[in-house]
Amino acid sequence: MPSLVSITLFLPLLGALLVMALRKAPAQVVHSIGIVVSGLTLTGAVLMWSRGVNETGFAQLEQFDWMPAIGAAYRVGVDGISLPLVLLSALLFFVTFIYSAKVRERSHAYVVLLLLLETAAIGTFTALDAILFYVFFEVSLVSMYFMIAGWGHEDRQRAALMFFLYTLLGSLPLLLAILGLYLGSDPHTFDMRVWIDKPPLTGTAAMPALVAMLFTFAVKTPVFPFHTWLPAAHVQAPAAGSVILAGVMLKFGTYGLIRFALQMTPGAFRDAGIAILVLGVVSALYGAFAALAQSDLKRLIAYTSVNHMGYIIVGVAIAALALDPAIRATALDGSVLQMVSHGLVTGALFFLVGMLQDRARTREMDRFGGLLKVTPLLGWSFVLAAFASLGLPGLAHFPAEFQIFLATLRVEPVADVVILGIVITAGLYLKAISRVFLGEPREQWAGMADLNVREVLALGPLLILIIALGIAPAWVLDIIHQTTAALRF
């Protein structure tokens, strides 16, 4: 009997095989399969959540031999850093399937790709074997490439290719680093737990490995100046693709940053801590300012991702630099929670922009106006998500950013200049709300329909969780904190 983790991990893959087998099935059936399978996966993730984690490392482990000759095995499990991301992924895929139920164009391929992507995403977060991790990490690229190229907007081919080449080339250094860690471990193994418990590379050997990993994860996260693929990919991707890309796949970068870079080369990470911190601060501020200059709503949200992910880099760098374990735990708590918050908030925002684009066929802010009157449900949902994104207390980003900034002040007070970002994001979101939703409604959009049931079902869970996480972050932080408080490096 396979473990709960493996069932959750491979359910979407089985669903994909089922859809491939049912080649003649109508689109509705195919979408129903997608919704049911992702719903079951979500149930699996919730059950995993209810089993929780433990303080001594990874929980809910499963392992069997795969390539014993080289020390690679099928190893999966979760801790307080990965479990919230598994739950987040399962939830985002579930609501994405609901949102996508309208797709009639090659729906078989669409559902298969999304289900494959779901297995790849959950696999990336649960893999405890470096080879397994790398396989999932790369498979996700392929699926996302076809999502963008197949169902994207005007200039999708170029954006898809750029995304694919950028992140593919970006991930090669990680492979080198993995090989380095493998060769450094004694006996040779790809077991990530061994690498974490006893970092195989130390001293000067660790630094090149760290640099290689940093490069990969900086492209993935993305961090300035490696972020140029992101706006292009987001703008061209279909709404569902953007939600998964921003909500789930960007977290591969920051998750990898903690799991690989921080945990497997902690000494080198500390040595390079200031440089990484500077990178995070610059990235966060740059993303905020670049977003402020946008007139395309989707690009604007894409750039705020650079801003929010920048805070995570800051948090991880502060965790590496902190000498006091309590401060380190605070910084990492904030960073991991920020990943969850960003997934929920940005997911909701990309859905909303997608819904706007479905109706108006444009994303230019200046072409809208007064929509709060015409589509109140859509308008107020956007206001809620936007205020969450600008870090308003009581909504998801506040507890995460508060912890990151608090830890930053205690370790490197100067770096707290990054907090300027919350004013700039406030400015750009208020500008967006004002242009799109306030003012007198335009004649042109007078007949625009408000959200329908499908859209409410897709958005509702995200908005409810945004509030729940903002008011009572403890239900997620307790899981995260169990692991971060016990980390020793």
Binding site: T228, P393, L409, V423, P441
Partner: protein, 605 residues
Amino acid sequence: MSLIASAILAPLSAAPLILLLRRLPAALALLGAGVGLLASLGLLVDASHGIGDALILPGLPDLPLRLVATPLTALLSSLVAVISSLVLVYATGYMKQDSEKPRFFAIMLFFVSAMQTLVLAGDWILLLAAWELIGLASYLLIGFWYRRPGVRSAATRAFLVTRSADLGLYIAVFILIAGAGSSDIATTLDTGGRAAVAAGLLLLIAAMGKSAQTPLHDWLQRAMAGPTPVSALLHSATLVAAGAILLIRTAPMLPPEVLLAIGIVGGITSVVTGLIALGEPDLKRLLAASTSSQYGLMLVAVGAGVPLAALLHLIAHAAIKSSLFLGAGVFQHSRDSTALTELAGAGRDRPRIFAGFALAALALAGIPPLSGFYSKDAVIAAALASTKAPILASLALAGTLLTGAYMARTLRVLWRGSGKRRDIAGLGWMGAGLAGLVILAIFLGAAFPAVERLLSVRLPENTLAQVLGLSAALGGLALGWLIPARRLLGPLLPWAQQGFALAGGLDTWMVRPALAVARGCEQLERQLYAGVLAVGRLGLGIGQAVRRSDDRVIDGLIFSLARATVNLGHRARTLQSGLIHRELAVTAVGTVLIFVPLFIALLIF
């Protein structure tokens, strides 16, 4: 449920109920606010008997959230509850004709509960959260009529200015938590040394934003775009009060240099915004400038080291200023405008409303026995007793003089002249709310000794302060009534009417640089993107070059090799002519050619 939770949850739970039911919004709002009021008064009664209350809620790891009812917080909570309930009574009439009542009342209740959270917060995280949430609520209320021109920029500006200043609170909170290792406000008040100076100055910045102190006073006047009950609430016991409340609560921690800075900021604000009020042609904007000015006086009291005087003025001002706004709202409905030129004689049309307005105006000016006299007296006495008396007291007296002048000017405009009177719907409710507040504005002074007992602090008695304060108030009233503002201000008039904006104000110093940086980033962004594309093209170019070289060089070589072979074949074919004798000759020559080297090789080795 505990009283402390009810004070917050009663209004909060009524808000979604109103949105869901969409019926009887005003009744539900009054019910929610009423239950909250009872809970707050219960807390106050308990506090007066020495019973405190506290509630600890789960928050961040190791940083729980706390609500505490101390004499000070219970008093503030009651103030918020009383004023907001009366404003809601008034709003029942004021909003009678509005089609979006549910949204209005829901946000108002949300606002009230956020403010209750702020005053009852016992830890910094909850205070910071409530601080930002009242910012959100005021954004939504100022932008309530979001379809009207000018409203969205007013709402956006109010939120952005206060949020920029809020960064001060964020950093101050981090410093205090880092220093004390706890987010409990009471614990962090022991902070001393450089941390206290830094945190104190940062708290001052946050308070300047919320309480609209110079140079951040501009947004408050623009915030008049919202419905009048909103202004009445914003300016009295809620949003704007938060800044002063923050400084009153942290006063025990503040070192002398910070106190001096607070006093000077407050004093300058009370004069600058007093001048603005004197030159202002719009009634609601005049009252808004006056709010900044009065909060300036409270900051003077905090700076002089007597936060109790600031608290008393806050209480008196809350009742007075909400009365003034509610009166102004009636005049606005009756003339459909808030411009003073349009309002000429509006008071004479409605003598009872005018009487309430005038009493509140005199109270604000500081005429005995109205409440403002006692509180202003306390402020001036505090300034006189401070070590920096020459600066603080002269600024406070100037502020008092200006208060008298602009209130007299307003009363004169409202009483003189004439205009068209219009009937107003819902006047009963409006009158009831106004009456309640005016009664408070008149008699609250009598409760001040009880407040002193409650907080166990005595105010300094000072006859000189009473004399000086009263003469400044009377002098101001006389000046304002007798001499037109134009002549009083003289060359300052155009500057005052621009709000004393420093070289373009906020736009020049904050918005434009931010937008310039944003444009710079966007340009860099384009270049980066072009750079990546160029690298991509370079790759493609190399690929094409390789293909071309394949075509020409390698393929060429291969093809020419092939051609050479074929040619060789052709030549070889000519050898095979089919003529026997030639074939034999070729064979013989070939055999010789093969065997000769073989022989030679055998001979050598």
